[in-house]
């Protein structure tokens, strides 16, 4: 199967993720959208790896997965901390740094 289909699917998933970050106000949902974007990148990596017959793409996808896991852990910890102090998970609320 030609790689265009995978690349287009990856583009669509990435854009859905980007729109989720821009549209949704809930911090956790925005965060899930970031995960979706990372997944789209992974799909592009794997399909490139398959197209060129080179395993480097798969290794990159694996490293992206590891980094995504770290990011989720830290991000969710930050969200929980903010929720504890502000009682809200909305991205509009924490505006203390704004002058």
């Amino acid at each position: 199967m030609s790689p265009e289909a995978y690349l287009i699917l990856s583009a669509i998933i990435f854009s859905i993720g980007a729109m989720g970050v821009m549209l949704r106000r809930n911090a956790i949902v925005a965060f899930m959208s970031v995960e979706l974007m990372l997944n789209a990148g992974n799909l592009a990596f794997v399909s490139a790896s398959n197209t060129w017959g080179n395993l480097t793409g798969q290794v990159s996808a694996f490293f992206v997965m590891v980094i995504a896991a770290c990011e989720v852990v830290i991000g969710l910890a930050i969200i929980v901390t903010i929720f504890r102090s502000r009682r809200s998970a909305s991205v509009d609320e924490p505006s203390l740094l704004r002058w």
Binding site: S2, P3, E4, Y6, L7, I8, L9, A11, I12, I13, F14, S15, I16, A18, M19, M22, L23, R24, R25, N26, I28, V29, F31, M32, E35, L36, N39, N42, L43, V46, S47, S49, N50, T51, W52, G53, N54, L55, Q58, V59, A61, F62, F63, M65, V66, I67, A68, A69, C70, V72, V73, I74, A77, I78, I79, V80, T81, F83, A89, S90
Partner: protein, 241 residues
């Protein structure tokens, strides 16, 4: 995922998408990545998300008020533009026929062996950097979610003392008492000195005056009997007298 009102529904949609991506990895001769996608993403990451959702914002629906004017329209326009841009890029790129990784896999003796050879060979420094990153992430999460105890934890005894120090009595009301000859609600409980325990009587009955009088002759009779049986020790009887 974008338009579902509840965050939990979005999370389940994302988990479903991730499972589908795992299938696509498997199709594209990446079995190891397919399995780790299921284990890491749908298994660990999405369940962590659901856990935090349950803890934090399961009932917090998104507000529908636009904080920035025209943000929603711009976001949708930007998203569609992004799709169009990527598809344009895909269409403009030069394709070659799909080679497939079977040759590379064959040289190493399998997909997993090939990945291992790359990961512990050419990319071993990056691999070890990710180890450091993971440990830092774990420590960071622990520090971020750790709550410092400002005052020492109260024991159960301290909590009980505070509760009763306020004055309103929280314990059970006095039962009819040792020398009671009736257990109906209008019979007052007697304190050790023979006086009536006020809070053993229901307030409505007191207001109506429907309290049965204490028969002190009866009481004395009971006391004599119990002394005769040795039920009441000498010290106690002396105190009562």
């Amino acid at each position: 995922m974008l338009i579902s009102k509840k965050a939990v529904h979005s999370a389940l949609f994302v988990a479903f998408t991730m499972l589908n991506l795992a299938v696509l990895y498997a199709v594209q001769s990446a079995p190891f990545l397919a399995v780790s996608q299921v284990v890491v993403y749908t298994g660990a990451v999405m369940m962590l998300f659901l856990f935090v959702l349950m803890m934090v914002g399961v009932d917090s629906a998104d507000s529908l008020i636009e904080e920035i004017k025209g943000q929603r329209v711009l976001a949708i326009l930007g998203g569609t533009g992004l799709i169009a841009f990527f598809i344009f890029l895909t269409g403009g790129s030069i394709y070659r026929t799909v080679v497939g990784t079977q040759n590379v896999d064959a040289t190493y003796g399998g997909n997993l062996q090939g990945l291992a050879a790359l990961m512990f060979g050419r990319y071993v420094i990056i691999f070890e950097a990710t180890a450091a990153l993971l440990i830092t992430a774990v420590l960071g999460a622990m520090i971020l979610t750790h709550r410092e105890r400002i005052r020492p934890k109260k024991t159960q005894g301290q909590m009980a003392k505070e509760l009763f120090a306020k004055g309103d009595y929280k314990g059970p009301l006095p039962p009819p008492g040792v020398f009671a000859r009736h257990n109906s609600v209008d019979t007052p409980a007697l304190l050790p000195d023979g006086s009536i325990a006020k809070n053993s009587l229901p307030d409505p009955l007191v207001a109506r005056g429907d309290i049965s009088p204490v028969d002190y002759d009866d009481l004395a009779e009971v006391q004599i009997i119990s002394e005769g049986l040795g039920l009441v020790s000498d010290s106690e009887t002396e105190e009562d007298k």
